[in-house]
């Protein structure tokens, strides 16, 4: 800036005090630069945010699932917000197994009671928490893994009858979506 002062002396002589002209120039320089940076960041954000889920994608849709046709021991897959949702009718034995697990045995500790609203109905987002594959285990003929819940075919994660991870690379339990029972035989997800 010292060199600039020498160069600027001649130019700013007509405007009075050379020192004053210099500080005005510095102010304009800084203010212009700062505004430019803010504007660039603002534009960059509009570009980045345009890639986030759009309003139509975000619009919270709900689905109603009719529970009547799901026999005990069976599960179904349905779609909610582009994600698979598992609804499983648990047997008394599966409920007992899920409830009688010591929390210290779990990778991601959670009681079965905290994961269901009615013990016979297990509602889960059917996406493996490892790398997003869809675990198998809704049909009794599927490979349900050693804990009788779900088994992910991609990298071998196994879940119990409460959808909690018991073995493999998945770090978390299968997520529970928001839902409530609108009647004895209908569950609304979302």
């Amino acid at each position: 800036m010292v060199d600039a002062t020498h160069q600027g002396t001649g130019l700013s002589a007509g405007h009075g005090d050379a020192e004053g002209g210099q500080s005005r120039r510095e102010f304009l320089y800084l203010a212009g630069g700062a505004l430019g940076a803010v504007a660039s960041a603002g534009i960059a954000w509009t570009l980045v945010d345009s890639m986030n889920p759009a309003a139509d994608t975000l619009a919270l849709s709900t689905i109603d699932v009719n529970l009547a046709p799901i026999a005990e021991g069976m599960g179904i897959v349905t779609m909610w917000q582009g994600k698979p949702v598992f609804v499983r009718h648990r047997t008394a034995q599966e409920i007992a197994e899920a409830e009688n697990v010591k929390l210290s045995d779990l990778t991601d500790p959670a009681t079965d009671q905290s994961r269901v609203k009615k013990p016979q109905w297990l509602v889960l987002i059917g996406i493996c928490t490892h790398l997003g594959c869809i675990p198998l285990g809704n049909k009794p003929s599927d490979d349900r893994g050693a804990w009788g819940g779900y088994h992910c075919p991609c990298h071998g994660s196994e879940y119990d009858t409460s959808g909690r991870v018991r073995r493999g690379p998945a770090p978390l339990n299968l997520a529970v979506p928001p839902y409530n029972f609108t009647s004895d035989t209908v569950v609304r997800v979302g």
Binding site: M51, G82, P84, H130, L136, P153, G168
Partner: protein, 422 residues
């Protein structure tokens, strides 16, 4: 101020007129005509030119495929089928492009191993090497994006698994993944942006290739002996010597490429990708294309999500660090008896990891994957730094010409005689 045009050495008046205003012909002649190039290249030095050829081939076939392809989740799969069945020569463009990615990676892997064996990453070529590593990273991104476009089962689930890598990041992982998808799962918005980026990245690669070649023309090429040319006797002009050698290599390469495209176009593909993407059904086994298998094996070698993903990215980071991890002053493995062994074990190790990546992670494969991963990182982080200290290297020849011509031209008397005759 009076501007004068620089005098041009070209006789043709049109070329001369252009050259005096923009010396592009002078530049081409300097960089690709008379450019002094070490006289001792072997055929491994063809692979840079082959990679350049493949980049152009991929861009050209890709542009024509894009004219027929529809990047919409409902229509993409059928539009690829239409390209194969109905579009004139569409079957050929598609197989040239899909197998082209395999050929491109094969060529680049040989090019990369060549650089590792002959120490092409060492001073003063570190930046040249870094540009190469950036190109490789961009190629991986481009290949992954492109594999999503046919919207088959493997496209969809490959995209799902790879984008889920980012969920391993603490705190921001989930938000980044949602941002990448433009939704809550891989779906139409994802396909749209993947198509846009798949079209963009090859041109970014072309720009970095330009920097890569520019840096090469500043330092000059390395050569099998790893010693710098000392005099004109050590070099030959790029044209016609290496233009013709590159053309010969390209001919052999094109024969192999053509055999794959015309006789076994689906050999390297996965049959599951002929099934339309189904977000509710994961294929029994999700397996990446062969060129990603070693990284996939490293990912699966640790049973922890964050550690697995970090190791996999770390495996690529090793390439970027290589110029500083290797402490030996000698470039070529010809004069490094221990490094030579370590290098060939490393090549075998990447092949082993590739095999492990193609198998279900059970039994012996888990152990082999872990041993392979340990050697992969051990090679870069332990062997490369230590060898520089402990290895006794062989004496380097005095010059390239002395080594390859048996001292014939280095004897100045005979050289002078030869000059007289000519």
């Amino acid at each position: 101020m009076a501007h004068t045009t620089a005098p041009s050495a070209f006789q043709n008046p049109v070329i001369r007129w252009v050259d005096e205003r923009l010396p592009i012909f002078t530049m081409l002649s300097r960089e690709y005509g008379v450019f002094p190039t070490p006289r001792n290249f072997n055929y491994l030095w063809n692979f840079g030119a082959l990679a350049m050829f493949m980049l152009v081939a991929m861009i050209v076939t890709g542009i024509f495929l894009a004219m027929q392809y529809t990047p919409n989740a409902d229509l993409a799969f059928d539009s690829v089928d239409r390209i194969t069945r109905d579009v004139n020569y569409g079957w050929m463009l598609r197989t040239l492009h899909s197998n082209g990615s395999s050929m491109f990676f094969a060529v680049v892997y040989i090019h990369l191993f060549r650089g590792m064996y002959y120490g092409s990453y060492k001073r003063p070529r570190e930046l040249l090497w870094l540009f190469g590593a950036v190109i490789y990273l961009l190629m991986m991104a481009t290949a992954f994006l492109g594999y999503t476009l046919p919207w088959g089962q493997m496209s969809f689930w490959g995209a799902t698994v790879i984008t889920n890598f980012f969920t391993a990041l603490p705190v921001i992982g989930k938000a980044i993944t949602t941002w990448l998808w433009g939704g809550f799962a891989v779906a139409n918005p994802t396909l749209n942006r993947f198509f846009a980026l798949h079209y963009l990245l090859p041109f970014v690669i072309a720009a970095v290739v330009f920097l890569h070649v520019w840096a090469l023309h500043v330092t000059g090429s390395n050569n099998p002996l790893g010693i710098e040319p000392k005099s004109a006797k050590d070099t030959v002009p790029f044209h016609p010597y290496y233009t013709s050698k590159d053309m010969f290599g390209l001919s052999i390469f094109l024969i192999i490429y053509a055999v794959i495209v015309f006789f076994i176009p689906d050999y390297l593909g996965d049959p599951d990708n002929y099934i339309k993407a189904n977000p509710l059904l994961t294929p029994v086994s999700i397996e990446p294309e062969w060129y990603f298998l070693p990284f996939y094996a490293i990912l699966r070698s640790v049973p922890d999500k964050l550690a697995g993903v970090s190791l996999m990215f770390g495996a690529v980071v090793m390439l970027f660090l290589m110029p500083w991890l290797d402490t030996s002053k000698v470039r070529s493995a010809k004069f490094r008896p221990w490094y030579q062994w370590c290098f060939w074990f490393f090549v075998l190790d990447t092949l082993l990891l590739g095999l492990v990546g193609s198998q279900h992670p059970e039994g012996i494969w888990i152990l082999l994957g872990r041993v392979g991963t340990i050697y992969y990182f051990g090679f870069f982080l332990i062997l490369l730094p230590l060898l520089g200290w402990f290895e006794k290297t062989l004496p380097l020849p005095a010059s390239i010409s002395e080594s390859v011509l048996g001292g014939y031209l280095s004897n100045s008397k005979i050289a002078a005689k030869a000059m007289e005759k000519a």
